[in-house]
């Protein structure tokens, strides 16, 4: 059961992260493909791997903090580890098809 619960929680965390927008593109970080992975273990530990559109961007720290705060807000989550990675780098190809027109044609 616990594995299913972990997966359910990971889904909830992912949903919670949709409140964090990228200030430049104005869409949430999940649909923009900036969240590489969300996993939950022991029904309370969330590990998130994420990136930003540009390395060294001054907004990076704020976006990372917002992701951590949102994950924390999910009931049952007691510990959050957000890992920032640029490998692989973000590319517009990661944008969800529903908002693919965001950048114009």
């Amino acid at each position: 059961m616990s594995r299913a619960e972990d997966e359910d929680l990971a889904g909830q965390v992912r949903e919670a992260l949709k409140l964090v927008i990228d200030p430049e593109l104005g869409q949430n970080v999940v649909d923009l493909g900036m969240i590489y992975n969300v996993s939950v273990t022991d029904r309370c530990v969330a590990t998130i791997s994420m990136t930003t559109t540009t390395r060294g961007c001054p907004a990076t720290g704020f976006i990372r903090q917002a992701v951590e705060d949102r994950a924390w807000s999910v009931e049952g989550i007691e510990f959050v580890d957000v890992q920032l990675t640029y490998d692989p780098p973000w590319s517009p190809a990661r944008i969800a098809p529903e908002i693919a027109g965001l950048l114009g044609r």
Binding site: P23, E24, G26, G56, C57, P58, F62, Q65, D69
Partner: protein, 450 residues
């Protein structure tokens, strides 16, 4: 954690820079300096330094304090230096301008005012170089855009040292044939290192990163960019190497400058092709006003290069240097500055006001802080005015020149008003800005934004 934070004093630099631009444009509208006065008259020197130090250099320093950390993905070292540097540069500029005014008996000041101003400028720009230099040094090995900044800072050093030498000679503190010969022959070196090296080369380097960042173009290190770096650096080394020839009034001076012009033009040409490639490869098809308005600046750079070739070919460079400098300083450097300010001010304001509550409540996008449809025509008016003013200088129409500078001043004021509206959140829909305090127009936030 990799990343840069908000540069606290950048907006203060920008505000001082804009005031200097507006004052310089107003002086020109009133007929102060060239073309009413000679190109080397003290009045013209006042104008030139108000634009080069007050407007362009303060703009560049403010931008670099924010963007060098972005370029190297490390925090700025020597965080206490930016306000000290700003105070020293402003005081130095005032003393320098007073010194020039003293040369033409506009006001009575002791002759030492010029070297004193120069000394303050050496100290101020020295503090800038120290802070940025340490940050860059700690981030080795450097990516290509950051290497442009290193070369630009070296050119800045050369510019201020030559400037202070001139000030010492003019005030009579430094004498001798060599010093006098340097003053008579070395002014082009001072101008080339400043406008071409410090400002243009640095702007080129930063633009590679900013254009890619804001238009989502691939940030690949191109072979062509290496060529721009190498050719541009060589051109600046040639200019610097001409210094001994200027001191001895040697025959090699003109040859070295011609070689520098050729390599500099090569660098500009390859840079132009890089910029076209960045615009073509952008992933963000609907580009923002800052990127559209920057096209005017690139066009002005191209126009400057073509004008330089035409003037060299017809032997009119000496007589028409004012027009060339005008389109280069106000079209290329000033236009690029105004275009990028339109984005940077909104972005820094967003970071200051909204970033701390990201994810906790609904926040506007950076684009919600600006009103592009209303701002866009003013950029068009600005570039048109610069173009016509340059033409007036080329065909000797001083009254029409003042008229077009008036138009340029009006457009600058309108653009500055848009900066203010974006800074004071006046374009943000009321429901999105409810509960947020409006930031001070140009002073740093009271509490430190991480």
């Amino acid at each position: 954690m990799p990343g840069a934070s908000l540069s606290r004093w950048t907006l203060t630099y920008f505000a001082c820079a804009l005031v200097c631009l507006l004052v310089a444009e107003s002086l020109m509208v009133m007929g102060f300096g060239y073309p009413g006065a000679a190109i080397d008259a003290p009045e013209t020197l006042i104008l030139v330094h108000l634009v080069a130090i007050g407007w362009l250099s303060l703009l560049m320093c403010g931008a670099l304090f924010q963007f060098v950390p972005v370029l190297v993905a490390r925090p700025l070292l020597g965080e206490a230096l930016p306000p000290v540097a700003l105070a020293a540069i402003l005081l130095g500029l005032l003393a320098l301008l007073a010194g020039f005014a003293g040369l033409s008996d506009l006001i009575a000041v002791p002759p030492e005012m010029l070297p004193l101003g120069g000394l303050l400028l050496v100290a101020g720009f020295g503090a800038v170089m120290l802070s940025l230099g340490r940050t860059l040094w700690a981030a080795r090995p450097l990516a290509l855009p950051a290497r442009f900044v290193v070369v630009g800072l070296a050119a800045l050093l050369g510019t201020v040292l030559l400037g202070e030498t001139f000030a010492l000679v003019l005030s009579g503190r430094l004498g001798g044939d060599m010093a006098l010969s340097l003053l008579l022959n070395g002014v082009p070196l001072h101008a080339l290192l400043g406008l071409g090296g410090w400002m243009t080369f640095t702007a080129m380097g930063v633009s590679y990163r900013l254009l890619a960042m804001f238009m989502l173009a691939p940030e690949t290190e191109r072979y062509s960019t290496r060529l721009v770096l190498a050719a541009g650096t060589l051109a600046l080394v040639l200019v610097a190497a001409a210094t001994p020839f200027a001191m001895s009034a040697g025959a090699g001076l003109a040859g070295l400058l011609l070689a520098a012009a050729a390599t500099g033009l090569l660098a500009m040409g390859v840079y132009a092709s890089d910029v076209v490639a960045l615009y073509r490869q952008r992933k963000r098809r609907n580009i923002e006003l800052n990127a559209v308005a920057a096209i005017g600046a690139f066009a002005a750079l191209l126009a400057s290069a073509m004008l330089l070739v035409a003037l060299l070919a017809t032997g009119q460079l000496q007589t028409r240097i004012g027009a060339l400098t005008y389109v280069f300083a106000f079209g290329w450097l000033g236009g690029l500055g105004l275009a990028k300010l339109y984005k940077i001010i909104a972005f820094l304001t967003w970071l200051e006001c909204f970033a701390p509550v990201l994810g906790k409540r609904q926040t506007p996008r950076v684009q919600d802080l600006v009103d592009e449809p209303r701002a866009a025509p003013w950029f068009g008016a600005y570039y048109a005015a610069v173009g016509f003013a340059t033409l007036c200088l080329l065909v000797d129409l001083p009254t029409a020149f003042r008229l077009f500078v008036g138009m340029q001043l009006f457009a600058t004021l309108a653009i500055a008003r848009h900066f203010y509206r974006s800074r004071e959140l006046l374009n943000v829909p009321p429901e999105l800005r409810r509960g947020f305090a409006r930031p001070h127009p140009f002073l740093p936030p009271a509490r430190k934004v991480p």
